[in-house]
Symmetry: C3
Subunit: 264 residues, 3 copies
């Protein structure tokens, strides 16, 4: 089966689909009407791009599929379903069987893990990392450089079931560890760290460490030392750079470059 590139003969492609140069569509992938895919994007097997919204069931004749825009340089692994009416920035990458519903606006250089469920009508910034099986509720706002680990849920209904949804906001560089739940309307502050299995009921200050059920602030991220050598670990941008724009030069130097560029 060699290393397949190009449009596989079993792929099904709808009307008014725009494919950039050097796009690969894997075995049996379905692209519905009105999908735009940027250059050099690779789509795996059994994906569905431009999945029709619910309106198709109530009015199958009159339904028109909204545009799905997928940026250039994306890697979309097999079994992923992305609805019509969503925007994905450049260099998107995801695992298998991800679901992204309508009305999601997703920035560039975002990675989303296997089985994650993006409910749509949400904003996800640039360089965001969602690990496997993350659940992002409607109306969530996830800003740049946020990390969210497996089985985290961003909720939105303060009085379930109701019609008054209030999203969660996660500020830049915040980290939410596995199995935590963030209740509706909560803001997780910049560079904050939410420990595993926490239930976060109220706003988390910038740089705070919150753990427990119910979640309580127990420290500042600046109190955390490496268990290996005792050195400071957070803010993580100063100790980790893989896949980040400051990779190889460090966050401080990169910031300086940005300032030099702006002033230059």
């Amino acid at each position: 089966m060699r290393n397949f590139q190009g449009i596989h003969p079993t792929a099904l492609i709808g009307d008014n689909v725009t494919l950039g140069t050097n796009v690969t569509l894997g075995v049996r992938t379905i692209v519905y009407d009105n999908v735009v895919i940027g250059d050099n994007t690779v789509v795996g097997a059994d994906c569905i791009l431009g999945e029709p919204q619910a309106g198709i069931y109530s009015d199958p004749e009159g339904y028109r599929n909204p545009v799905l825009n997928i940026g250039s340089g994306a890697i979309i692994r097999s079994g992923t379903i992305i609805y019509a009416g969503t925007e994905l920035g450049a260099h998107f990458e995801c695992g298998h069987r991800v679901t992204i519903r309508e009305g999601a606006r997703i920035g560039h250089h975002v990675r989303i893990g296997t089985l994650s469920d993006i409910q749509g009508h949400c904003d996800i910034g640039n360089y965001v990392r969602l690990h496997s099986n993350v659940h992002i509720g409607h109306k969530s706002v996830v800003k740049d450089y946020v990390w969210i680990f497996p089985y985290v849920v961003l909720t939105n209904d303060p009085h379930p079931p109701s019609n008054t949804l209030v999203g969660v906001t996660v500020e830049e560089f915040a980290v939410i560890a596995t199995m935590s739940v963030i209740l509706p309307g909560v803001t997780v502050g910049s560079n904050a760290l939410v420990g595993a299995s926490s239930l976060v009921r109220s706003d988390v200050p910038d740089e705070a460490v919150v753990v427990g059920n119910p979640g309580k602030q127990v420290a500042s991220i600046r109190d955390i030392k490496s268990r290996f050598d005792g050195s400071p670990v957070y803010p993580w941008c100063e100790t980790f750079d893989r896949g980040m724009p400051w990779e190889g030069i460090g966050y401080t130097a990169w910031q300086q470059q940005l300032r030099d560029g702006q002033s230059g």
Copy 2:
């Protein structure tokens, strides 16, 4: 690809399959032997209906597939797998990649979200709402108008691993918020509310609010006021009607109609 209706030529259909009028079977959907699908049902791409039970592996020649019955007016989204030997009532609707195993009896007007895992040998009533990624263990009983949110697990084994399973019972109108676990044999009472990330180890009284790990009763649902306007929120049937039989008229008037009809 227009708005496809009908039996897609790539669908595979087994022996003794009964399709109602105006049924749609999506791209590459597989329908195994002895499946009955009601009128006006729409099945998405890549579904498997009538998945054979485990007996086929031990006796592939002698195995006969039990009947799967799917009611009329269902919407079954792509990637869903429903086993042989299950019953789904009318107006069923589900998200993507749902799994429903054998011996599940599911009422009418039920909605089940993406990736939910119904283990089978369980009873689910009418107008039940399961959000994404809900896990319903064997022997669970979920009654009418129950709402269960993402990553909730209804367990069944008091001494894992053992052969003495004891299911959970969730009474009418109860609500279980995200990431909660209900331990084996527990009954969650009518109109009760289990908060997010709770571990429920003992029976929950009707109309009780239980939160925490371990879960404790902290209030009555009648104590909860809207965070927006301070008005009562629960019982939710009095403040929410979308998709419910009292939609547009209110629960009280609907109940009155039922009484009038019975006496009329």
Copy 3:
């Protein structure tokens, strides 16, 4: 559609694939290059075996797929994805849409439930049981006869995000109940029992019962009595035998047989 056996005509098979005798490959299953499948293995529909590793995206021309070895007598249900560069022992069985990434070494007689996500670069012993939706992080070591229930996560990053991963070790016969999280570097002792929804931050002694968030030792497994008849339940190998090598004869007699065999 009869009870299908053999290689389905819609299956796609790559180069240098070795199939044992009496192998079934289901509808539309994809087998990439350099996969070895043992005798009498049954692979369901829509599976992907030998999924290429990430290197294919950076060097599609030069990439060569590592070997995936699947032992004899396996049952792999539909939608499962197993990466190249992994080893599965004989009599493996899994549910639907399981993901197993590269560098996983999995023993014999292992069962893995629907939607479980094995991140790869991990060791899983013999007769291990993972229920639905279990997440095994990189560098985890799960020894023989371990049981792990739904939504459990074995983590690995003590300072997320970082490059210094430290896996969890789960010793023989340990049981981890649903929705529990084991933090990086923790060892769960032999025959220990971690209760549902626990957050385990430190090593669990052999035969200890740990529950809560944070998890605390509350008992020995020998203190637990059956809720049905008051008899001891643990160590579970003495009260449960389904699918185990001591099935029908009991653990003690089986151990005696092993000793007799060794000395005979």
